[in-house]
Symmetry: D2
Subunit: 346 residues, 4 copies
């Protein structure tokens, strides 16, 4: 299988390459970076040196890619993929877009939160790339919109309950999320410098983070009615990991065994969702470098609420790992092909 | 002024000594540690070397302390202070207890969450040491129960609204709190080792953390009716800092200026509460090493909720700094005496 | 191939399991921990959950192991392996000892630095498990003494020059090494708590660290004369990684191309040693989670010295990864079988 | 006393303001930042809010400063101070320059390592601002060149031995130094982003770091002969702190008591140099936020070398704290005025 990566100079590009090195029978046909074209890949990312394929790759301009790969990852910032995708699809490649460009269902919604959409004709065709929810559609898709990191952690935590109509939606669902710094990508910004992050913790975009409409869209599809969500992202002084603490009320009381059974049944065929033992609070280090999403459930008798804790590796499960899972589904390979590594812990 | 510290071998003891070094006209008359009696203080805590008073102090057994200090800090673990306080008070000293022993109002409640209380006769007399709420009673107190770190961050964030009866109490208040590792003290435990914390994040005691009754007690006093609280503590890979993200509904809609005015008026005479500018999300590094509590307010139109963000240094404002503020109030000194340092940032 | 791990409750045990999960056709036949016998492996190490083999393993007492594995890893603290190895070898298993017990050539030297040796009869047979130096002897060994982490980083950095007799040995070689905290293992100790390590840096065992005789032994064998070494270990606030900065004088001046050629030739068949491009200073993150040793060389004209910088992952290349490389050599498999992952970076 | 800060938008500016807040009778008359002129200081640095003086300050352009301050700190990058200093001195202010512009004794040397010098006429007059060495000249100086951070840690570690002619200078002194990230200032650069530094460690500018000539100059003055120095800087994943491990040979053997006595006598009147007890290895956390330089000495019998370990807070003792110590000396105030705080540890 030949794959290509457009926008390989960011952290999601690097993570794709780390993971693809472990995937059998995979040829990385090209890596592109408009800004760094001409640079050998291992000069740009010295940690990739020593791998026979990578030692030969040179960063290219994203031109003349036609026919060179069966699957193309778009690892660019939002706003770029929607310009490139139409031609790539026309050339016969199947595309997995890691940016936000094809996640929202309508051009209007995209424009409200981002900018004018340049390829609205593809929005209906693009499949939201969460295999647990859309595996069959992903298998047939030409264009997969790889989910955002926060959305992945929150949607997987709520899908079984919402699908079964168990959540009291008369009040907002609260999702208090904490992310490592790779979530911000490799772009230089004051807020991502070591001295601003180390020994510090803060919320950011406290209201109106751009992942909100994507989460609301998917939760509402699952519930088959509008869902109100209060989402707050925070910045953790770690490289990798998202932990979402989610507070919900149920329509009717549910015992712990029944509650857990709903999740076990829903994810019975999903190798990457781990229902944690009762009382165990998932930790981000448990999933570092993996495609797992770990879930823990905590009923609180004094308030009647349930707390759901969800952890993923934001750059693996929340981006590049999930992209490769989607590749596996699209290519009719085992879904965990190349993704069987356990957490690098500690 | 002569002060003494019982249980000086922990991090709150160390922080008391750091802060007292900056307080004028303060003599540290003794430091005790049953386990480390006989050790010179600066052998135990080398960072304190070079300070003339500290270079002479030797850790003592907590015996024969009578008459040697006007104010005594109890920096021991819970369960110890209630055994020591009666005799110390009888000897004429005034006592500031940094443990949980005198924070709850009834022996029954204490027994439910901790163990049998050994000095229940003092519970009625002990004053909860949050100067913003109880300044006048603290000034006259013989025994001050220094608040917990999580409670300080949450109570200060909610006091003005609750006192004015503005919060919709028909549903639980949600407080999602994140703390640095000093909050766990200096005791050895697997969960506090570097390799378990670094590049990791988790919730712990997801339901039923022992600070819950203390917070509920004070919030209910402020509201003058029972308050339901869903509190979740998390462990941050930093030394110092607590950030609490609090989600509330108001009984009636309130504009931003009116909301902010309520806080400004409530804390008008309080040097340590900083109402942050609109849109600024408080960061733990802003308060590192200080007695400040910084507050930020975020209305969310899509859900109708308000998010309140509160940050403190858990071991300064949440323990030793607050203890010295209480000392200042008790001794009729300026409340910020010895506490005027700005944050060590970065 | 059936392998077993004795002393699986430490970090080297966990790392062995992480790596073995990626190794094809490998059955982990047993894991032992005297203290935690009876605990399911994934209860002890939740990050290993979801792996079919590991989900079934239970920690055992290290008894009744005879005939159950072809290769046994001893991942215990020093002093334990020398008691267990004789019986394990007698039972027909081949043994890879990750502790210090069989690294020194004489019982006298071991007693000077550790304690009385309990199996001195095996010291002559044990092979020092550095594949780059002893590949052929490892292939035939019954008992391999897996090198220490500091020794691995320093010996690989110096072997080519010493073998060629190029270093001026009239003055001490200086090796200034810095290690992550996993190097101290999983044992509880004040110095390994988060609050003592975070935002801190220190040297420890400044003179006389126990890895010194092991390094001196191997350097002297390479040089075929006694080598004087000044070795200083430091503790980095990171989980994984050792960087050694080594200062040497050459007997005769050597140009950069000639110097580099000596290393390239020496390591021509070694997949894990990466000679870095001129001017590139190796970083510990480049080798995180891998078996690579990266080397950089810097001539300093103003002093006439050469600086050699060497980085490894102390718990992978410096312990468990190297143990699996030794397993591969002993089993006549490709040396990098199961070890082809690239660095988890960032 | 009226002081002003030119270039207040960097971390040394922030640290000056943190420290000046604790200094009695000090008025910060102005803060400048050409780029951020017009911004209220506490908008720029929210951690400074709540301080009466700072709440009123607005960042200015560095014009029209004449007569507004008795002492002016130049906290700009190198290359700026040499353009501003002449006019500031002419206006009657006394100047403490935290940059490199006036540290080297000749314009030629400056040009070799930096660029053409714009105020060479001041190089003879500028006093190197290390109070332990030049206290009396600092007291009378108009222009003080505040030392670099690495030089401070290395010069203080070697001054007593060199002044007494005890070091064998026939071979290079080796200084292996490790610094926190604040040493790189507040400028945006890839290498200072969190994801590149966290869980990483590396050397940088392995040969020819710009602090080398400054260190060599001062060591040679102390020794009264040319000193050869091999200096290697490394980047620690911490905010603050430098630890230098220094390797020397003595001309003649010296016992530990005699060695230690030389240091004690040399620094007998210096409040900021702490000679650590035998066997104690200084830690950067011991000096965090303080002006201390802690020294430890370790003879190594197997090699005949001495190892000297020196720690400072690079941004306090290595920059802003030392600048205020110089201010104190220049103003004939107690040298530790405003600098008596103990380390913020943990």
């Amino acid at each position: 299988m030949r794959v290509g990566i457009i926008g390989a100079s960011g952290y999601t590009g690097l993570e794709l390459l780390r993971l693809l090195a472990l995937r059998p029978q995979t040829e990385v046909a090209f890596v592109t970076s408009r800004q760094d074209a001409g640079t050998p890949l291992t000069t740009f990312f010295p940690s990739l040196a020593g791998h026979p394929q990578y030692d030969r790759l040179i960063m290219e301009k994203p031109d003349n890619l036609s026919g060179r790969a069966d699957f193309i990852f778009l690892a660019t910032q939002h706003g770029v993929a929607m310009n490139l995708a139409p031609a790539l699809l026309e050339s016969g490649a199947r595309v997995i877009d890691l940016s936000a460009d094809f996640r929202l269902k309508t051009a209007e919604l995209f424009q409200t939160w981002y900018e004018e959409h340049k390829a609205p004709q593809l929005l209906g065709e693009a499949v939201y790339g969460l295999p647990e929810l859309y595996r069959e559609r992903i298998a047939r898709a030409r264009l997969v919109a790889n989910p955002g990191c926060y959305p992945t952690s929150i949607i997987l935590a709520l899908a079984p309950l919402l699908r079964h109509g168990l959540v009291d939606l008369s009040r907002p669902i609260i999702a208090d999320s904490k992310s490592g710094v790779t979530g911000a990508g490799r772009t230089l910004a004051r807020g991502n410098t070591f001295c601003e992050v180390q020994e510090n913790f803060k919320a950011y975009k406290v209201v109106g983070h751009r992942h909100t409409p994507e989460i609301v869209q998917e939760l509402s599809i699952l519930a088959d009615e509008p869902v109100s969500l209060s989402f707050t992202p925070h910045l953790l002084p770690i490289n990798r990991g998202i932990l979402s603490t989610i507070y919900i009320s149920l329509r009717e009381p549910l015992g712990v065994p029944a509650f857990r059974a709903i999740y076990r049944d829903f994810y019975i065929n999903d190798p990457y969702v781990r229902i944690r033992p009762e009382g165990y609070a998932p930790e981000t280090a448990d999933v570092r470098g993996t495609n797992f999403c770990d879930l823990g459930f905590f009923p609180e008798s004094s308030t009647g609420l349930w707390k759901i804790i969800s952890v993923i590796d934001n750059i693996c499960r929340g981006a590049s790992g999930q992209a490769i899972a989607n590749l596996n589904v699209m290519a009719n390979c085992p879904e965990d092909m190349g993704l069987t590594g356990m957490s690098l812990r500690p």
